[in-house]
């Protein structure tokens, strides 16, 4: 079973050291994503969804510190713990194997660069060789057509760069203006191609725009284009439609679905909206106060939720004709989280043991994991 898991997070613990004390943001997060599936991660504000996603890229926001756990990722058939990789190795994974789409696309685009320059950056970073070859090929072809022989400076440069990408002389030579014209053209062409694939009308024009000139939906498409530019194995989407209109949200959701099946990527989709979750995901992980409390197939979860929090969450969806239910109390502060099970003080099934013992994450049924003492998790 485990061999098909693309990403596996085991017991991830992360604390923030702030002025007011230690915020225990992640308290042993467990989840896994299989090849080619969409995992929906659902939870309320401040439950640690975004922190989990950033940790997957090993980009921990500043006062935070990972204090335990493993993040196993399948790189070329080999499982590696991302937390133990060198920064250099991580950089070859970021943007190439794992990429990310954020909420508020315009905040996550650099306001002073055009769309095309921001997308080509990631292309040049990870797919440079491909474009060098393409450029070289087209240059050779053109010269053959014209019946010219020998080589030009540009050609030489490409060949040298292909042979020895990290040499200093090549880097300096490539700084000469105009020396990489064809290479840049190839990259540009790819940018436009990717943008068109995102269903953006008039991609040539959009490529030349600055982020502030784009509408929210358009900007989110650009961010998705940037994330999918290198055909990643895992796409992390952190509430990508939260601030968009419902009609635009529907467009983006169907775009992600389409691209996912096209690229055969896995998706980690983070949201607080249960509607979106049921729409897009194959399996769902429910988070509460720094823990994944339930992980199951989406049909199973909606039909037969096991954890009291999941139940409460599903019941608080407004449905006409039914009385509105809600979970009493409020989300606890992670500065001083409740002992034992962090949900115990809002839970109507709470037992004595819940106050003391933190329930383990157990497979109750096949592929259905719960962290709750009701299901013998405390064993």
């Amino acid at each position: 079973m485990t061999e098909e898991r693309l990403l596996e997070i085991n017991g991830l613990v992360l604390n923030f050291y702030t002025y007011e004390g230690i915020v225990q943001a992640l308290d042993g997060v467990n989840l896994y994503i299989r090849d080619g599936e969409t995992l929906g991660l659902v939870g309320e504000t401040g439950c640690g969804k975004s922190v989990t996603s950033l940790s997957t890229l090993v980009l921990i926001p500043s006062p935070g510190k990972i204090e335990g756990g493993r993040i196993l990722f399948n790189v070329q058939g080999k499982k590696v713990d991302l937390l133990k990789q060198s920064d250099e190795h991580l950089r070859t994974i970021r943007g190439k194997d794992i990429s990310m789409v954020f909420q508020e696309p315009r905040v996550y685009l650099n306001p002073v660069y055009t769309v095309s320059s921001q997308i080509s950056e990631v292309l040049v970073k990870h797919r440079k060789e491909e474009f060098l070859k393409k450029a070289l090929e087209s240059l050779k072809q053109e010269r053959r057509k014209k019946g010219l022989k020998g080589s030009t400076f540009e050609m030489n440069l490409y060949e040298r760069m292909l042979k020895n990408p990290n040499s200093l002389t090549n880097k300096i030579l490539s700084k000469i203006p105009g020396s990489q014209r064809r290479f840049k053209l190839e990259v540009q062409r790819e940018v436009v191609r990717i943008l068109r694939g995102m269903g953006i009308p008039d991609p040539e024009r959009v490529a030349k725009m600055y982020p502030h000139e784009l509408s929210g939906g358009m900007a989110q498409r650009v961010v998705i284009a940037m994330a999918l530019a290198c055909n990643p194995k895992l796409l992390i989407a952190d509430e990508p439609t939260t601030n968009l209109d419902v009609t635009v949200q529907a467009q983006i959701l169907s775009l992600i679905k389409r691209l996912k099946s096209m690229f055969k990527s896995s998706v980690l989709y983070i949201t607080h909206d249960l509607g979106v979750i049921s729409e897009i995901s194959d399996r769902v992980a429910v988070m509460y106060a720094g823990n994944v409390v339930e992980l199951a197939d989406v049909y199973e979860l909606f039909k037969k939720p096991l954890h009291p929090y999941t139940r409460g969450l599903l019941e608080s969806i407004p449905r006409p004709g039914k009385p509105l239910k809600s979970i009493p109390g409020t989300v606890p502060s992670l500065l001083n989280p409740p002992s034992g099970c962090r949900f115990h003080d809002r839970c109507s099934y709470a037992m004595e043991i819940c106050r003391k013992v933190k329930p383990a994450f157990t497979e109750v049924e096949k592929d259905h994991f719960v962290a709750c003492n009701l299901y013998g998790g405390s064993k």
Binding site: E44, V248, A250, G312, L313, S316, P320, L324
Partner: protein, 353 residues
């Protein structure tokens, strides 16, 4: 049920300042000719995408914004309303009409009259982190309308504040705290008690649940329902979250680019939306049930800019069943039966046949 508000041809434009001399370049037509009636004691839902002018409409009705045209008749007897219609047709400049409007039309209110209106009409904002002054204590925040209106002060005001706080589920111990010490749901409760402490008749709820967590949202919705019943309130519930509107509203209006495109009772509208935009909007809502995934393709394109809205029917560039007349003529709201109003050429022509 009698009507509480009659809104006629209401317009609110925001000027765009620019150019070399910082002159007015154009207008954002946020609300562009809205006709509505709101019944006493109902919860009137207003849905639409962001930027369609629904918040502006709400704020203009309670006169936090000054409308550029149109009238808002509040608590007006039927016979006088008929008289106004007659007068408007005969002689729109008659002094009698002016006198009536000065008495009933909120759009003409100024100064003291406007401030007294604040006792009758209140608002709850979308985000309580920004609508509560971060440097004021809860007791001062909630008491502010009382003090400003000169209704109560000192210990009397304090007693009213405590009563109100207890009514929304907070208590006396919360009096001397700053807003940032509360959770989102509690903050919204504070905002609600500030709005209701002057015992208004009409309350605009401007996306009051969009910034709180799912598990708390239901608590707030229940609170609104209870308070509405107990205080005999009329609500205008502005939201883009259709599932919330569905459970709380009695009637719903759908707004697109500054215009109302459809009005109906909640059951009718959610069962069968008629306007193509309403249909697209309803199809776009993700349903929290994996067995009922969407089949219909979503609406294409973005919402056009409200500065230069499309000619004719504003929805025509995105509409599937667009006809020639849609590009030229603006459709009017037409009753298709049972008080179900739709502004669509295609539907009204079908009806005509």
């Amino acid at each position: 049920m009698s009507t509480l508000l009659h809104i006629k041809g209401l317009k609110k434009y925001y000027p765009i300042i620019g150019g070399i001399f910082k002159r007015k370049m154009a207008d954002v037509k946020a609300v562009d000719g809205v006709n509505l009636t709101i019944m006493k004691g109902e919860c009137f839902g207003l849905v639409g995408e962001s930027g369609c002018g629904k918040t502006t409409l709400g704020k203009t009705i309670i006169r936090l914004l000054t409308p550029d045209a149109g009238s808002i008749y509040y608590n007006i007897p039927e016979d006088i309303l008929e008289e106004i219609d007659k007068l408007e047709k005969e002689n729109p400049r008659s002094s009698k009409l002016r006198r009536i409007r000065e008495e009933y039309d909120l759009a003409t209110f100024k100064g003291r009259k406007l401030r007294q209106l604040r006792r009758k009409m209140q608002i709850v904002y979308q985000d309580p982190t920004t609508s509560l002054d971060p440097r004021m204590l809860v007791k001062d925040i909630v008491a502010e309308p009382l003090v400003a209106q000169g209704l109560a002060r000192g210990s009397e005001a304090k007693k009213m504040v405590v009563d109100m706080l207890e009514r929304v589920g907070l208590s006396e111990k919360h009096l001397c705290r700053y807003p940032h010490e509360f959770s989102g749901g509690q903050r919204q409760r504070i905002a609600v008690s500030r709005a209701l402490i002057v015992r208004p008749e009409f309350v605009v709820l401007d996306e009051p649940t969009s910034s709180v967590d799912v598990s708390v949202r239901a608590q707030l919705l229940n609170l609104f329902k209870d308070l509405g019943k107990d205080f005999g309130l009329t609500y205008m519930f502005v939201s883009h979250d259709l599932s919330v509107v569905e459970v709380i509203s009695d009637r719903v209006a759908v707004m697109y680019l500054g215009k109302i495109v459809e009005v109906a009772t909640t059951e009718e509208l959610f069962k069968e939306p008629l306007h193509p935009y309403a249909q697209g909007l309803f199809a776009s809502i993700p349903i929290p049930d994996p067995t009922r995934r969407r089949e219909r393709p979503p609406l294409t394109g973005d919402v056009p800019s409200p500065v230069n809205p499309p000619s004719g029917c504003r929805f025509h560039p995105r509409c599937q069943s667009v006809t020639d007349v849609c590009r030229k003529e603006e459709p009017q709201l037409v009753d298709v039966g049972n008080g179900h109003l739709v502004a669509c050429h295609v539907i009204s022509s079908e009806l005509g046949k």
